[in-house]
């Protein structure tokens, strides 16, 4: 649609034509919801880094005079305090560190597994491919949260094990995407021409395969981050994830849900922040998809 309009003038103006990434960046910048998502997420990240450092109340500090106190500006309990008298404002942003970190690290784990697995299956083809993808099909048929709960049951709910358990289970779609990409790229004409002019395998991979496969991988990663944050939250909500004194949005929501009639702010603030973050990631994911794959619309 608007893509042709963007390309046409450049083709005649004598300047070198914009590359894939420059074009994608242009399209992304024009998407207001996506930019809003980036800004909001940036603010939340900055707050998660700095607020626990500089806030007058410490994360674990207990004010015995202010148990389950409603939000007030007077004594810097902006989000109120929890049932143990701990300041909720600092806890919410401290929990943001854990939730965001799990989203990122678990996604990196699944990215690594998925890309290697999918690319191997796609390149190898034949029987290897069939067997490898059959394994993915079998795992797909399982309820994945249950699998993570089994892993957590067996290996305990150490925070690094939670990273790994989520990542180890959520790589299936990534593997399918990368395999599909690899298969379709293998058959493109530019691959044949690249081979015909005698480029090495390494150069073909770097110049042709990876740039063409990376778009969907990035898009799916931005979809996977919020999914992983939700999985961690669900685990913590069930009491199987992050354990006190650490905290995460899921754990805060669960504590809030337990105190719902006495201290509703304990539910409202972490719940709201989690919801806003989910929307940000969704907008960014949609924006990236439209920017990197305009045909997909």
């Amino acid at each position: 649609m608007t893509l042709e309009a963007e390309i046409q003038p450049q083709a005649t103006s004598g300047k070198p034509p914009l590359g894939l990434w420059a074009l994608a960046f242009r399209r992304f910048r024009a998407n207001r919801a996506a930019i809003g998502g980036v800004v909001m997420l940036g603010l939340i990240t900055v707050a998660a880094i700095f607020i626990p450092m500089f806030w007058p109340h410490e994360v674990g500090a207990v004010s015995f005079g202010a148990l389950a106190q409603p939000p007030s500006f007077a004594d810097f309990h902006w989000f109120g305090t929890d049932a143990n008298g701990r300041d909720l404002f600092v806890r919410v942003f401290f929990g943001a560190r854990v939730s965001l970190a799990i989203g990122l690290v678990a996604t990196l784990v699944s990215l690594l597994i998925g890309v290697i697995y999918g690319a191997t299956a796609g390149y190898a083809g034949g029987l290897v491919d069939t067997v490898m993808m059959r394994v993915v099909d079998v795992m797909y048929a399982l309820p994945l949260l249950f699998l993570i709960i089994v892993l957590v049951t067996i290996f305990g709910s150490n925070i690094f094990l939670i990273f790994a358990a989520i990542g180890c289970v959520e790589w299936l779609t990534m593997a399918r995407i990368v395999r599909g990409q690899t298969l379709s790229i293998k058959q493109r004409e530019y691959m044949e021409s690249a081979r015909a002019i005698g480029l090495s395998h390494g150069k073909i991979l770097r110049r042709y395969v990876i740039p063409n496969a990376v778009g969907p991988v990035i898009v799916y990663s931005t979809i996977l981050i919020p999914i992983n944050i939700i999985i961690e939250s669900a685990l913590s909500f069930l009491g199987l994830g992050v354990q006190e004194p650490l905290t995460s949005w899921g754990l805060l929501v669960s504590q809030g849900a337990a105190q719902i009639d006495a201290a509703p702010w304990m539910l409202i603030f972490p719940g709201l922040l989690l919801a806003v973050t989910m929307f940000c990631f969704n907008f960014i994911g949609d924006g990236l998809r439209d920017a990197l794959d305009p045909k997909g619309r």
């Binding site: 994945l144 249950f146 699998l147 049951t153 067996i154 939250s233 669900a234 909500f237 069930l238 719902i260």
Partner: protein, 307 residues
């Protein structure tokens, strides 16, 4: 059609076998046994317990015994709930889980399809925007956040519904859980239905029907609706899986006495028998339900059967 069903069934059986075998070995090879309590048991007592449950046999013999018991519907004893077997616990919880889960699934399918179709028919006008906004919220916000908020408003502030519990099992107790469980699926199905109906209404055969002078409601009911259903059908498999996992969270949240609640208690207490029993049951149920969805899919779209 029969050949198609048999082929799907043949594909499901090895999957189930793999799951059962994997469950057994994960359970046995996991660090820490079910009798590793905080207080050390007397070695004689421990040996007796292990003998009673057959843990002293070689692994292969244990596996055969496990399969035999499984065939009899015996999933072993629960260590979290002494005196009760895993099968008993599941039998206890299943009616509640099924009631809430199936109702949620039915609600999701009906409401999702109607909302999506309504949005597609009034594309880019207010019903469309309303449905799509609600759908984005349903997809973006996890149900363990939405559900407590609903409880806060309807239960705590307005006193319309009970906050939690199963009570006498009447509709007042399961309305909120069903809603919380169904909402994300309603959202997803509405989105899929909208997109698919818009696409179908733009297809050549619809244009031909309209050009022949077929009345609009007949175009939709007779021509467009069936092909538009196909993507919704293929989402039903994932929807069932999500309702299953969602039910664990919702049961915990509302304190419903379902399978999911026992499952979480089992996981917290490292009760391998209970956890694996539930996972096996849910995986097999999911595979069989997916089989049904596949068959329905093949019936709806003959091209699937040919593949």
């Amino acid at each position: 059609m029969l050949g198609f069903i048999l082929k799907r069934l043949a594909a499901a059986i090895p999957t189930i076998a793999v799951i059962v075998t994997l469950s057994f070995f994960l359970m046995r090879l996991a660090p820490g046994g079910p009798f590793d309590a905080e207080v050390d048991l007397d070695p004689v007592v421990k040996a007796n317990l292990e003998q009673a449950y057959g843990f002293d046999l070689p692994l292969g013999a244990q596996y055969v015994r496990f399969l035999g018991n499984l065939a009899k519907g015996d999933l072993g004893p629960s260590t979290t709930y002494p005196d009760r077997s895993v099968s008993e616990l599941i039998g206890d919880g299943l009616p509640v889980t099924l009631k809430v889960g199936l109702t949620a699934l039915a609600v999701a399918a009906v409401v999702g399809v109607i909302a999506g179709a309504a949005a597609a028919r009034r594309q880019n006008r207010w019903p469309d925007f309303a449905v799509m906004t609600a759908a984005s919220a349903g997809i973006a916000i996890p149900n363990f956040v939405i559900a407590p908020f609903l409880t806060l408003v309807l239960g705590v502030y307005l006193h319309l519904l009970p906050v939690a519990g199963w009570g006498d099992g009447t509709w007042r107790y399961w309305l909120l859980p069903v809603f919380a469980l169904a909402f994300p699926q309603v959202a997803a199905i509405a989105r899929i239905m909208r997109g698919s109906l818009i696409e179908t209404l733009g297809a050549d055969f619809v244009r031909t029907a309209r050009a022949k002078g077929v009345k609009e409601h007949r175009v939709i009911w007779r021509h467009a609706l069936q092909p538009a259903f196909v993507p919704v059908m293929s989402y039903l498999g994932p929807a069932i899986a999500q309702v299953m996992t969602g039910s664990v969270i919702i049961e915990q949240l509302f304190g419903l006495p379902g399978v999911g609640r026992y499952f979480v208690q089992g996981a917290i207490n490292r009760d391998y028998q209970l956890v694996m029993g539930v996972v096996m049951l849910y995986s097999v149920a999911l595979i069989l339900l997916n089989l049904l969805v596949d068959i329905a899919y093949g019936w709806l779209d003959p091209r699937v059967r040919a593949k």
